[in-house]
């Protein structure tokens, strides 16, 4: 199975750019945080106007410590949409919130009858459609609605469709790399030591090298992966270290 888990880089901790005013956090968040440039393209305009909802009508019965009037002074237009989304990349400050529409998206799921070729659903097009939908939603988050729930489950797409589309090309790539490395290393070792391929496989050291080469090809696919793997290893034990910090100054007999 494709080790897709490791190729998406884990989220690194980006240090917060604004000085966090929350050293005394029972005070409420100061208003100047609003003025930071909005780098994420969400439709913030959607929240403050005309929805008649929670936005402008802030009736605070209890006045909090810091005079935070959360009257949402952040109408920054999210003009950073940069995708080929099917619907309008509309100006956000308008009454109608852009909603994902697609003729094949019916009742909160994809209508498979619309994806047929030769009487069988073309799974590749289903995957494409779902990708577009998710991309659209990431850039224009929508409200979740009880009357119109989303019930699509990616597991309705059969496993072999996923294999064909995602696993096989990557497997081909990795096998190709392993084969190239293997051929070259076998030739190199043979030219240096005169030991042929069959005899190399009897040798323990050569078998170890083979194992390392295969594992390396599997785990390290991009240059960034080396750093990622190191970070992952550190991450797995970080929490344990934080918990055991209180025992560090104590004698080892009391440790966990």
């Amino acid at each position: 199975m494709s080790m897709a888990l490791f190729s998406s880089p884990p989220k690194t901790h980006i240090p917060s750019l604004s000085p966090c005013p929350l050293s005394k956090p029972y005070l409420l968040v100061k208003p100047y945080i609003f003025l930071r440039p909005n780098s994420r393209p969400i439709s913030t305009g959607a929240t403050d106007n005309g929805s008649g909802a929670v936005g402008s009508a802030v009736v605070e019965e209890k006045v909090p410590k810091a005079p935070v009037t959360s009257s949402e002074p952040e109408p920054e237009p999210s003009t950073l949409e940069s995708n080929g989304s099917p619907a309008t990349a509309g100006s956000p400050v308008e009454e109608g919130f852009p909603k994902f529409v697609d003729p094949r998206w019916v009742g909160g799921t994809w209508d498979l009858t619309k994806f047929q070729t030769d009487g069988k659903p073309n799974w590749d097009t289903v995957i494409d459609a779902e990708v577009k939908r998710r991309k659209w939603l990431e850039d224009n988050p929508e409200s979740s609605n009880n009357d119109d729930p989303v019930v699509f489950d990616t597991s309705i797409i059969p496993w072999w469709a996923w294999m064909k589309r995602f696993h096989l090309p990557e497997a081909e790539l990795l096998n190709g790399r392993a084969a190239m490395i293997g051929f070259f290393m076998a030739y190199f070792v043979d030219s240096l030591t005169g030991v042929g391929l069959v005899d190399q496989m009897d040798n323990f050291f050569c078998k170890t090298l083979l194992f390392v080469a295969v594992a390396g090809v599997l785990v390290i696919r991009k240059n960034e992966d080396i750093e990622n793997v190191k970070k992952l290893i550190e991450e797995t034990t970080f929490y344990d270290k934080q918990w055991q910090a209180t025992w560090q100054d104590e004698s080892p007999s009391k440790g966990l």
Binding site: A4, Y26, A53, V54, V68, E74, V131, R134, S144, D153
Partner: protein
């Protein structure tokens, strides 16, 4: 006792008595080593009982005060604001009601259904596996805290309205800690008067910004900011939230946590939190409100609140005869951000260790007695914390991971395991075959979601 046995043994056996002579000496030394209770060597406290002060009157402080007072210790509970409405999600697990004998009328709502909503708005209902008597209790902190404090006072603790300022370290192993605090009472009005209290041990239960922690140099921790708005919504919309809580996941709502809609007594609390992008918390809050927009349409914000939540324990949770419990120690779980139960339980455990180490207040305690509480705590709850940490690392990583998370929540086995471990605070072992199926399904979901993600990236380029 061992020496007596040796004596009778010597009497009975007819064989060489010389070989038994050296025995009594090592037997005595052995005897002393067996009794590790340090309190035995501590001096008795004469003329009075052990005095312990608890700084902070929340769930941790209240539970600790009650246990100490019941154990015969002279207890002082110092709380700065008796009517404090601590910003909090307010969810307590079922086991807390039983373990702390909470009356059912302090629970405003019983949540028996939850909805998890993924970044692409796939909504999954969980809670069908709950038995009729199982629920998640929603409480108002001001009600719960006041109840626990009153119970502590009824058990004999002295509840003092005051703000802890600083603490003077003791000069010797038996000298007291001197606490300086500003006492508020009716006579002096708002300003309060400086007071001094001498105690033998201190429990720091004063929350995420603990002053006690600062005074013992406990070190800092990473914390999340939880931001919450209380919104009063129309009655017909409130009906939907009668016994249902929602959890929204997505990069728009929070990069490393989740957004929530929790029902309270007559309104809902809509909030979110983050560790890594604290500056963007307002944006995340708007996004949460957007995602819940249709369900909270027509609502009015009645209160805005925020508070830090610790992400992991402080480097030092104990120094001398001062111990930290609850949020002050950093006992909030990852993934769910749950802290009330653990605060109360740690307060109780620490108090029990003090009662035991001092033999109901007769002897002075030592650091070793308080360490026992840490040992017990770490041993009992470490698996819970670790599992939740792993879940957070795997499933809150990115949008594909969150999609997989919500997909997995649709599975009945997952729901059963999740609720069993949440409600009873035990990492339930489960069925190995089902666990294997679950592992395979999890990997499948993650792989599918990540594959879709890579296609999405191709689309945007």
């Amino acid at each position: 006792m061992a020496s007596i046995a040796i004596k009778t043994f010597v009497g009975l056996r007819q064989s060489s008595p010389e070989s038994h002579l050296p025995k009594p000496l090592p037997a005595q030394a052995h005897q002393r080593k067996l009794r590790i209770a340090a309190a035995k060597t501590s001096p008795k406290v004469t003329g009075r009982n052990l005095r312990v002060a608890i700084i902070g009157g929340g769930p941790a402080g209240g539970a600790a005060a009650e246990t100490l007072a019941k154990g015969g210790i002279e207890t002082f509970l110092i709380e700065r604001k008796m009517d404090n409405c601590k910003p909090c999600g307010g969810a307590i697990p079922l086991c807390m009601v039983g373990e702390f004998d909470l009356p059912l009328d302090i629970i405003d709502r019983r949540v028996t259904k939850m909805k998890m909503i993924s970044p692409s708005n796939v909504a999954v209902d969980i809670g069908q596996t709950l038995k009729p008597h199982e629920y998640i209790g929603m409480v108002r902190r001001e009600v719960l805290d006041a109840y626990l404090r009153e119970r502590a006072a009824a058990a004999g603790a002295a509840v003092i309205n005051g703000l802890f300022l600083k603490m003077d370290k003791p000069t010797s192993k038996t000298a007291p800690y001197t606490l300086h605090y500003t006492g508020y009472d009716g006579k002096t009005g708002g300003a309060g008067s400086k007071q001094i209290l001498e105690v033998d041990a201190v429990i720091g239960a004063d929350g995420a910004n603990s002053r006690v922690a600062k005074s013992i140099g406990a070190g800092d921790y990473e914390y999340a900011i939880a931001f919450q708005e209380r919104i009063k919504i129309p009655d017909d919309k409130m009906k939907y939230y009668e016994d249902l809580a929602e959890m929204y996941v997505g990069d728009d709502v929070s990069p490393d946590f989740y957004g929530w809609v929790f029902p309270k007594c007559d309104h809902v609390a809509v909030g979110t939190g983050t560790v890594t992008h604290k500056g963007d918390i307002k944006k995340f809050q708007s996004a949460t409100r957007l995602r819940a927009r249709d369900k909270i349409l027509g609502g009015k914000i009645i209160r805005v609140e925020a508070h830090p939540i610790p992400e992991h324990p402080r480097p030092k949770r104990l120094a001398g005869r001062v111990a930290l419990v609850g949020d002050a120690a950093g006992y909030v779980t990852k993934c769910s951000g749950e802290g009330i139960y653990f605060a109360a339980k740690s307060g109780r455990m620490c108090a029990e260790a003090i009662v035991e180490g001092s033999e109901n207040g007769k002897r002075m305690v030592e650091e070793g007695d308080l360490r026992k509480y840490l040992e017990k705590w770490d041993k009992t709850y470490w698996p819970t914390y670790k599992v939740l940490d792993v879940l957070q690392k795997v499933f809150y990583r990115s949008n594909p991971a969150r999609e997989a998370f919500v997909e997995m929540c649709a599975d009945e086995y997952v729901q059963k395991m999740t609720f069993d471990s949440y409600l009873y605070k035990k990492v339930a072992p489960g069925n190995p075959l089902e666990d294997l199926k679950l592992a395979v399904n999890t990997i499948g979901s993650l792989v599918r979601a990540n594959a879709l993600r890579r296609e999405m990236d191709k689309l945007s380029v």
